[in-house]
Symmetry: C2
Subunit: 386 residues, 2 copies
Amino acid sequence: MIVNNSLDEVKKRESALKIIKSIMSDNGRFGLYDVTGLSGAFLASENDLNLLETYVGPAIFEDELQIYGKEHLGGEKLLGVNRTSSGILATILALVEEGSNVSHFLAEFPAHPSIPRSCKLVGASYNEYVDIDKFKILDNTSLVVITGATMDHKVISESLFRKVVEIAHSKNIPVLVDDASGARLRTAIFDQKKAIELGADLVVTSTDKLMLGPRGGLMAGREDLINQVKLKATQFGLEAQPPLILAMVNGLKEYKKDNLVKAFSRKEEFFKLLSSKYSFFKLSPTGVMIKEEDLADDIKERNIESDLSVKDFAFLFAMVLLKEEGIITIPAVGMPGASATIRFDLSTQDVVDIDLDVLIKKIDDSFNIFLNLIDDVDSAKKLILG
Amino acid sequence: MIVNNSLDEVKKRESALKIIKSIMSDNGRFGLYDVTGLSGAFLASENDLNLLETYVGPAIFEDELQIYGKEHLGGEKLLGVNRTSSGILATILALVEEGSNVSHFLAEFPAHPSIPRSCKLVGASYNEYVDIDKFKILDNTSLVVITGATMDHKVISESLFRKVVEIAHSKNIPVLVDDASGARLRTAIFDQKKAIELGADLVVTSTDKLMLGPRGGLMAGREDLINQVKLKATQFGLEAQPPLILAMVNGLKEYKKDNLVKAFSRKEEFFKLLSSKYSFFKLSPTGVMIKEEDLADDIKERNIESDLSVKDFAFLFAMVLLKEEGIITIPAVGMPGASATIRFDLSTQDVVDIDLDVLIKKIDDSFNIFLNLIDDVDSAKKLILG
C-alpha cells in the first residue's frame, strides 16, 4: 500500500503539481490535457486585461454581458453573480418574505442545498416535489423554483416545465429557474427552449458548466425583478466582480451549441472504442470514467502480483497519465479526500477537438506503462509520492 | 447648458469611452493615467493565466494566499471573499445567533451599512458606539466589531482598539475588525500594529483599497473561526473565485508600505504646488480634488462669458484632461448620477511614481485648453457629448 493517509495524499498532490509545472515550462499549456471538467475557463486578451484595470473597463464588460447574456438566456436584463448559489440567495433575499412558502419542482431528488438553505435563512417554509400530481402551491407562496437539469444531468421535460410555470402564474407567483447546466444541456442536447421562453421570470446558470466561462453565475429575466435581485446582491457582496464578468463575456462569445452536441455524441463513440479493449470504462454525463474497483478487478484478472491497494491502482494510473501524457485527472491532483474515480470529460476545451484515436493512444501507452509499474512498488511509490 | 439629463450623461460617458479606446489603440495602456482611485488592479502573468485554467491552478493560488496574506494580516489562516461585505456577512452567519447582540465600535459615524444589515438578516440586535465611555457589551452578545479606519480614513487609536478588545475578551466574545483600508492605512501611515497583533480574532480588508489588488475581501484570524466562516461562505457563494485569488496574491506581492507612505507624503506637496497657481484644489484622503462649485467660482472671477452650468465646467475640464492627456477622472467616465468632483488619487498605480511636475504640466496644459473652450459652446458640446 502506497497512499495510507491524508499526509500521503498531500505528497501525491505536490508530486503532481511539480510534474505540471515542469510540463508547463517545457511545453507550455499545450502539453497539458485537463479533462477533470472542473476547471473554470478564463479567456482574456491582453487588451481585455488592460481595460480591466481602468475605471471604465468593468462598465464596458457589463454592457457586453447584457448583449451576449441576452443571446444566451433571453430576458430583459442580465446580472452576473459570484456563483449560482449567490444568485439563488440574492433572489430569495429579494422576493421571499419571512413566513411565506417556496415550492420547488425538479426532475429527481436531491435538490441543490442552496435553495432550502437560503429559504431557511429568511425564515420561509420550503417544499420540494418530483411528481407533478403531488405538486402543490400553498397559500402565501412567494416564489416557485424549477430545476432545469439536476447535477447528474437529469432533465425536466418541456411539458412539465410549462405546466409548473402555468400553475405558478395562475396564482401570480414568480418563477425562478435553476438552470445551472440546464441552460445549455436542455437547449443544445435536448432541443428544448430557453427557460425564459418557457415562461420563467428569472433564470440562473453556471458559467463554468458545459461552457468556457469562469466559475460564476449568470442571471436573466424581468427587469423589475433583476433590479430587486441586483440590489440585494450588491448589499451583501453576492455580485460577480469585473474579472469574472470579463471571463463570462468571453465564455459566452465562445459558446457554440454544436461543440456541445459534438462532445455529447463523441462520448458514446469514445466509450465504444475504449470498451472494445478495456473492461473498466463507464459512461459519465460528459465523457467516460474509471471507478477504482473496476480497475482493481481488471488487475486481479491479469494475475499480477501487487502490494498496491485498490485506490493505489487508480492513483498510479492517474499519475502515469499525467507524467507520460500530460493528462490531468482528479486522482492525481485532487485534495486529500477527493474521489479516486478517473474521469475523462470530453467537453473541456483541451480535448473538445482532439482526434479520439490520438487520445486513446495516450491512454493505451499510459496503461502499458502502468501495468509494468504495478509490481515495481519502489518506482510506483516514487512516482506517486515524489 | 450642455449636460441636461441622464441621457446626456450617458452620451458623455460613451464619448469618454471612445476616447479611451482610441488612446489604448494608439499608445496602449501607458497613454492612460487612471487617477479615479476606484479601479481594481488585476496583476497576472501569462503563466498565471495559463495555470488559472487548469484544475490545480486555483489550489496553487490558495496556497500562496496563505503565505502572502499571513505576511500582510497575520493570523493562523486566510480566506479570500468576494467583497469585504461578503466576509462580514459570512462571519455574522457563522458566529451570530438569532436574538443575540452585536456591539460595534468605530472612530466616527456612520458605520458601513453591511454590518447592521447582516445582523438584521440573522435576527440579531445591533448597537454602535464612537465614545468609549458609552461603549457597552450587553448580555448575550455574540460578536464585537471594530472598524479600523472609516471610509473617510478616520482611524481609531491603538489604545482604544486594545481597550475594546480587552472588554470583549474579558467576556469571551470574539472580535471582528473591519479593516477595509485600515489594514494598510493604520500600519503604514499611522504606524499602528496589525489588527491580529492588537488582539482581534478575525480581520477583513479590501484588496482594492490602498493596494494593487482586485475588488475583493481578504480575511485572516483564528483557524477555528476562519473554518466556520469559510463553511458559510462556501454554502452561500460568498467566497472569492480563483481569478480574484490570483489577483489578490499578486497585489499582496506588490504591496510596499513605502509606496503608500510616499503617496501620502506626496499629496501634501502636490496640493501646495497646485495651490500656488489655482484657487480650486482641496486635499482629499489620497490626493487632491476639485469640487465643481470651486471651479465655477474661479471662472466667475475671470469674467469669462459662458452658457455652461456649474457641472458642465467640471465635465468639460474632465473631458479635456482625458482627451489631451489621457487622465481618467470620474466626471468624464462616470455613470449617470456620478459625482462631478474631479479627484486625482496619487496612490494609484498609474501615478505612484510619476514626477509631480510632469503631472502638474499636464493639468496646466489641459486647464489652458479648457479656458479657451468655455466660451466656445459648440466645440465644448462636441467634446462632451461626442
